[in-house]
């Protein structure tokens, strides 16, 4: 990469309305959300309006970016900026998930032993919860949410693991296709990835339904329910976002927006997809299995 030759041509976009629209949409959504959560019914509509505006913003912003890209505004240095930006964005996401994993580890290795009378704060059990034992899964000494069954790893979760892992493979296969300008391989690789991604989301939704209907495993099921749904839920949300991004990329691939040398958007989505994949492996091991 040669910064020297190109820094003079570093692309500085025109003034753009999107950021401020972004602000308005975020503000509206969250304002409505706060109202809705407190039972003020108009809140839902405000959230809806905010989200609509948000999608409009995403559409508009990315449309501009695509336009600029297609009219060759971006030199190599700009491309590097985008890549680094995406990389650090994913890094921040990793730490977001780390907070939930941290909560899981803390509860299992520190909080529950105390409640169960082990370790340093043993008096807790003696005085407040005689008879409560530290076993996992648990819904705590208060037995919140009533009796429930935990989600075993070897049913749907194992299948989902396979699905996500193979989707990682298909997207890599698509990438190889792209690198040798094999349009067909690219498109079919992406189609396969999207299908696998959607399948994952559907199975996950089914699993939730099963958990609520048959296992009585709910958000209210104490520490187990909380961590289970929080981790899998946020992950599922990320998969959904990833799947939408994949579809966008698929559309662009079909319009032959990408070339062997210029396909930052594709790679960004692929990285994101791999990130989601790795998080799932963590989930599988720590939430379902151990």
């Amino acid at each position: 990469m040669s910064v020297k030759e190109h820094s003079g041509d570093y692309f500085i976009p025109d003034p753009s309305p999107w950021p401020i629209i972004g602000m308005v949409s975020l503000l509206t959504t969250l304002f409505g959300g706060a109202l809705a959560m407190n039972g003020i019914s108009i809140g839902k509509f405000i959230v809806g309006a905010g989200l609509l505006l948000f999608f409009f913003l995403l559409y508009g912003w990315f449309r501009d970016v695509i336009k600029e890209n297609l009219s060759d505004c971006y030199n190599k240095q700009v491309d590097t900026s985008f890549r680094m930006g995406m990389f650090w964005f994913i890094a921040s996401e990793v730490f977001f998930f780390l907070s939930f994993f941290g909560a899981l580890f803390y509860i299992r290795n520190i909080a529950l032993p105390w409640l169960g009378g082990e370790g340093y704060l043993g008096a807790t059990n003696e005085i407040l919860y005689t008879g409560f034992e530290n076993v996992w899964p648990t819904h705590g000494p208060g037995q919140l949410g009533g009796d429930f069954q935990a989600m075993g790893p070897w049913g749907i979760p194992a299948i989902n693991t396979l699905i996500l892992l193979s989707s990682g493979a298909t997207i890599t296969w698509a990438h190889w296709g792209l690198k040798i300008d094999n349009q067909k391989q690219l498109v079919w690789g992406l189609v396969a990835t999207v299908v696998l991604g959607l399948l994952f989301v559907i199975l996950q939704a089914y699993e939730y339904g099963h958990a609520y209907a048959e296992l009585n495993l709910t958000l209210e099921s104490g520490a187990y329910g909380s961590t289970f749904y929080m981790l899998t839920g946020f992950h599922g949300f990320h998969v959904t976002m990833g799947a939408i991004m994949l579809m966008a990329i698929l559309g662009r691939s079909m319009k032959t927006h990408f070339s062997a040398h210029n396909h930052f958007a594709f790679e960004a989505v692929a990285w994101y997809w791999h990130f989601v994949d790795v998080v799932w492996l963590g989930l599988f091991v720590f939430v379902y299995w151990l």
């Binding site: 910064v3 500085i12 912003w61 240095q77 907070s99 909560a103 929080m230």
Partner: protein
């Protein structure tokens, strides 16, 4: 790879867009920097106004005019507004203005996103202010009486306003993370040819480290408050022992963010000092490399000592010992920084313009605050200090000199560059002296209050604490009013004054001083070649 650019690319006609679009839709780092600084100034006054109400309430024993929940809500908002609204945006404003100019880049690496990270801030401020005002409306729930640490279960008791606060924190987090990404990418990818990481200006280094810290810790806070939101509304029990959770878990998540946050506030100011002190000592920064090393050490150790805010929660002996020793060790890199500043002044040829006055003041007063920090770090002693006014004194001594005064120094130092005018030196000096004297009168006596047994966050106190509170409140008025002078000086400088040369200060070094004062709308469209 192509070298063509769009014909409407702004970089090619060198004047500013006109009218409101220039500000609302901006993709120019200087304009966005100005917006950041303006926003920070407004927030400083807002946060300061709440501080003044706090101090007026504490002026004498008894409840004067604030009901207890309102008092605690003011404390909460004061802290959040000052930290997230004033200090961090001001530092980001300096970064926006100076980093591209310092490294010879045409702009920030991702200019549109730059604008987004600014505009999320007013949205966050709106949510914060809403969290303050909704309780005044029927059905709005209770005031946020938790302090800025929003520990559950108290924060679960609070009404709707807490949800606004949580969302405000989410927005602030989004803004910080986006801004940090931008700064990292700019610093790594946009330096002029020939400028290596180890030759880039120290201010850039401090921001590079700050941005990394932000990316690593802000998402954890976001996760923590998200769990809080779920505990409040969706029946989870992360922080509820009945379900197997633990209120203390939230404290860990908060301080995993919170402690690195204090270095996030500190480091940009250290960066400013690393320019101001050499400039007015007329000799290069002492120990560039050790400065970089110290900073990395502060960031690393700073990430793993968070629980020194929680010594009283009943951690095991092993845990407190670890956190104590880790915390005390931070004095090594910070001490090295202080040492480097002193060594830069040593055998220099010093003059004392306003930025330098602030710099010297910072070195002295920050050291004072840092030393009381080391006292706090000692676990058994912190069993006394914790949650008393002694802690309040400590952190204002590090926050004001360590963060705010550093930003003031930066503003005075670069104001001639930004506006093209010299500020009024005499007024600047008056500002410095009233400010510093007011500051010390306000916060010095609070150490004694804490030792004598006055807890923090109380609206009403026994008369044995009267004397020092009176002194502190009077100091706060002097201190507060002195900021009006700052406002006046800044406005006056924008509107006119002695023309500033491109190198406004005799000893100033660096690329930014090669540019005109004020610089053109687009600078370094052709990268300078560093030898």
């Amino acid at each position: 790879m192509s070298t063509t650019t769009l014909t409407h690319d702004e970089a090619h006609h060198h004047e500013a867009p006109k009218g409101w679009r220039r500000w609302l839709f901006s993709t120019n780092h200087k304009d966005i920097g100005t917006l950041y600084l303006l926003f920070a100034l407004i927030m400083l006054f807002l946060g300061g106004a709440s501080a003044m109400l706090i101090r007026m309430e504490l002026f004498q024993p008894g409840i004067q005019f604030l009901d207890p929940d309102l008092y605690n809500n003011l404390v909460t908002n004061h802290a959040l507004i000052m930290i997230f609204g004033a200090v961090m945006p001001a530092a980001a404003g300096l970064a926006n203005w100076m980093i591209p100019m310092m490294i010879g880049a045409p702009d920030m690496a991702l200019p549109r996103m730059n604008n987004l990270s600014f505009w999320v801030l007013p949205a966050a401020a709106t949510m914060l202010i809403l969290s303050f005002v909704v309780p005044f409306f029927p059905g709005g729930g209770t005031q946020i009486n938790t302090g800025w640490t929003i520990y559950p279960p108290l924060s679960v008791q609070v009404g709707m306003s807490m949800d606004f606060l949580i969302f405000a924190i989410h927005l602030l987090g989004i803004s910080s993370v986006l801004a940090s990404i931008n700064i990292i990418v700019t610093l790594l990818n946009m330096r002029a040819p020939g400028m290596t990481l180890m030759t880039m200006p120290m201010f850039c280094w401090t921001w590079l480290v700050t941005a990394f810290l932000l990316i690593l810790v802000v998402p954890v806070l976001a996760g923590g408050v998200t769990m809080l939101l779920f505990d409040r509304h969706f029946g989870t029990s992360f922080f509820d022992a009945a379900g197997g959770g633990d209120p203390v878990l939230f404290q860990h998540l908060f301080w995993f963010f919170g402690h690195p946050e204090v270095y996030i506030l500190l480091l940009p100011s250290i960066g400013v000092l690393s320019h101001v002190i050499p400039a007015f000592s007329r000799k290069p920064l002492f120990g560039y490399k050790s400065m970089v090393g110290a900073m990395l050490a502060v960031a690393t150790i700073g990430m793993v000592v968070w629980a020194h805010h929680q010594y009283t929660i009943g951690m095991s002996l092993g845990a407190v010992t670890y956190f104590m020793i880790g915390t005390i060790l931070i004095s090594i890199p910070v001490g090295l920084m202080v040492f480097n500043f002193i060594a830069t002044m040593w055998r220099g040829s010093m003059t004392f313009e306003t930025p330098m006055l602030f710099a010297v003041g910072i070195v002295l007063m920050f050291t004072f605050g840092g030393l009381s920090g080391v006292m706090l770090a000692v676990v058994p002693a912190d069993m006394q200090y914790h949650d008393s006014m002694f802690v309040v004194a400590h952190f204002h001594y590090v926050l004001m000199p360590g963060a705010v005064f550093g930003l003031f120094a930066g503003v005075f130092y670069w104001l001639p560059k930004w506006t093209g005018h010299m500020y009024d030196e005499k007024l600047g000096k008056i500002f410095f002296w009233t400010n510093v004297i007011g500051f010390n009168i306000t916060f010095f006596p609070q150490h004694f209050l804490g030792l004598a047994g006055m807890p923090r966050r109380i609206v009403d106190y026994n008369m044995m604490f009267t004397e020092f509170n009176v002194v502190s409140s009077i100091g706060a008025m002097i201190f507060g009013l002195s900021h009006l002078l700052l406002l006046y000086i800044v406005i006056k400088t924008i509107r006119g004054g002695k023309k500033a040369e491109s190198r406004a200060w005799e000893g100033a070094k660096g690329l930014e001083w090669e540019l005109d004062s004020p610089p053109a709308f687009h600078t370094w469209t052709v990268a300078p070649q560093i030898k």
